[in-house]
């Protein structure tokens, strides 16, 4: 058994950064504490550099497969830590204005990052579960962080009650899978499924169904999405961005690894189930988004819709030909690409929401009327972000959806790609309604006094970077596609 502790140095660095932020919080005078974002973001980037140097070409199984350090883990480690760093910087001005305990806020974000990298690299259900809970616990606190705010309280209670409920489902599923197979290692489950293909124990099937339901709650797939809109609306906006982008990416890293390395031999049993979940999620998310009047709530439903597209990729992970499961690596490429593209576009949208909120103090859509006259830069970023989320050409969302639909077609799920395209058209409608509001409608009379919205320099830089990223990856996705390809071949070769 490999017990090479030094392999975990990047994780130690992350934990160290979190404690350093907490310690620095005690030492700094109160009015300078919001500057801790620099320490947190810097530490996150340092850990990404450390992991790149240390694990560039490793494919090691630590503790007999509890923890797998491969290209896939490396990709998600770098992606998730950089993502967290960006969210920490986006929240800089928000925290300065609205959050009284910046040290705890940033430290919890870094702890959440530790949980996320654990989820991407776990090779066993209990390890994955513990990592998932580390992420969830940090998020429970972050969601309810504004203690006096009624919306924040309500969001916190709904999130933690449904989160704990879904953990119970997940654990009951894990206990059944362990009872039926005698192992919780993905590799062991895969072996068991391959040996008993077509003749699975009912305990095992029930266990897998419960695990799907538990994970469905965590990624907010319909019909398990009820907590998402309330939680997204009530949480502090940077935390909403974190929930929508980072925690979802981590959950899909876990799902991709579990499904390819563990459950692929039983593809025939779960493919239809995941496809149906994908359809329900796409349809419900995109239809209910139309009637929203609050931008965070609308983005919440839009992100439920995006989860539907990602589940389409998961359903397309393989196809059965003559009783043999043939893996489709393109599908996991597509899911990872979509996660990256979605992260750029959604972070740009949330960064805009934060700047607008800091200025006008509301998240209602009416506050966005005539935004183009008040801040051309903000409305441009928002429009590009929404176009990319809708999947229009020249933006990264188009490329990633193209990959997803191609993968679905390759696995013989053409009907699913058709539903997804229809859902994309619906999503375009409500995204365009916001664009219309920003560019065609007039500024409401009451706000005319504070006509122009000034953008702080840091936010300006981040918004521009996210805007350029969304467009650049849309016209030149080559390098990203190569990196994603290398990462996803790592999980398939192990299966």
């Amino acid at each position: 058994m490999n017990i090479n502790f030094s392999l975990l140095v990047p994780e130690y660095v992350l934990v160290g950064v979190a404690f350093a932020v907490l310690a620095a919080d005690l030492l700094l005078p109160r009015q300078h504490r919001f500057h801790l974002s620099w320490l947190a973001a810097g530490g996150l980037v340092v850990s990404a550099v450390v992991v790149l140097v240390q694990r560039w070409d490793t494919a090691e199984h630590l503790y007999g497969g509890l923890f797998i350090a491969d290209r896939f883990g490396l990709f998600f480690f770098v992606f998730l830590t950089v993502l967290t760093a960006v969210i920490v910087l986006i929240s800089h001005d928000y925290v300065r204005q609205h959050i009284r305990q910046p040290g705890e806020f940033y430290a919890l974000m870094v702890f959440a990052a530790v949980g996320m990298v654990g989820m991407a690299q776990a090779g066993e259900l209990l390890t994955a579960y513990v990592a998932l809970e580390l992420l969830s616990f940090s998020l429970y606190v972050l969601v309810a962080f504004r203690r006096e705010d009624a919306h924040g309280n309500e969001a916190g209670v709904k999130y933690i009650v449904l989160g704990a409920f879904s953990s119970a489902l997940l654990l009951y599923g894990i206990s059944m899978v362990w009872g039926a197979t005698g192992t919780t290692y993905y590799a062991g489950i895969s072996e068991h499924l391959a040996l008993n293909a077509g003749n699975l124990d009912s305990t095992l099937i029930l266990g897998l169904a419960l695990i799907f339901a538990g994970l469905g709650f965590k990624v907010a797939a319909a019909p398990f999405h009820m907590w998402a809109p309330d939680t997204y609306q009530g949480a502090p906006t940077p935390v909403t961005a974190f929930l929508a982008v980072a925690s979802k990416a981590a959950a899909f890293a876990l799902i991709l690894r579990l499904f390819t390395q563990g459950l692929l031999p039983a593809l025939a049993e779960w493919q239809v189930l995941v496809a149906v979940l994908a359809v329900a999620t796409m349809v419900i998310g995109n239809l209910v988004a139309i009637v929203q009047t609050n931008i965070k709530r609308m983005l919440a439903y839009s992100s439920v819709g995006q989860v539907g597209f990602l589940l389409l990729g998961v359903a397309a992970l393989g196809h059965v030909e003559g009783g043999v499961v043939i893996p489709v690596t393109l599908a996991s490429d597509a899911v990872m690409l979509h996660l990256v593209g979605y992260a750029f576009a959604n972070l740009a949208a949330f960064a805009t929401v934060i700047v607008v909120y800091n200025h006008i103090g509301t998240d209602e859509l009416s506050g966005y009327s005539g935004l183009a006259k008040r801040s051309p830069h903000l409305s441009l970023v928002m429009a590009v972000a929404l176009f990319s989320l809708a999947g229009l050409p020249f933006f990264v969302g188009f490329i990633t959806k193209f990959y997803l639909f191609t993968a679905a077609a390759e696995s013989g799920l053409l009907w699913l790609a058709g539903v997804a395209m229809a859902a994309s058209v619906v999503s375009l409608y409500y995204y365009l309604m916001i664009v219309k509001r920003m560019f065609i409608d007039d500024v409401p009379e009451s706000d005319i006094t504070s006509a122009l919205i000034g953008i702080p320099r840091l936010s300006w830089l981040l918004l521009s970077a996210l805007l350029i990223g969304t467009v650049l990856l849309g016209v030149y996705p080559g390098p990203l596609a190569d990196a994603v390809g290398a990462a996803s071949s790592a999980i398939f070769s192990g299966a």
Binding site: V141, V161, A164
Partner: protein, 105 residues
Amino acid sequence: MLELVHFQVLSAALFSLGIFGVLARRSAVMVLISIELMLNAVNVNLVGIAAFSDRAADVRVFGQILVVFIITIAAAEIGLALAIVLRVFRNRGSANVDELNVMKW
């Protein structure tokens, strides 16, 4: 004579009771207790399998390890949830889940 199936039935019954409690109870504290019931149903299942399954000893002991992990995490989770519920109670004077309706749709 006790067999594995008895534990599985007990566990399924407890789990179902827990789900019923989560759906039917008004008080957030009772909902949390119901969740605790569900988590302990999992523990009963694991302990039962660990004691009565016909697998090798090193496989069976893993069930008990899982139970220790679940107890620890569940305790932390409920502690955190109670802190948030307490916050709601202080702000609103009630901890009933059906009164948490500031946000709709």
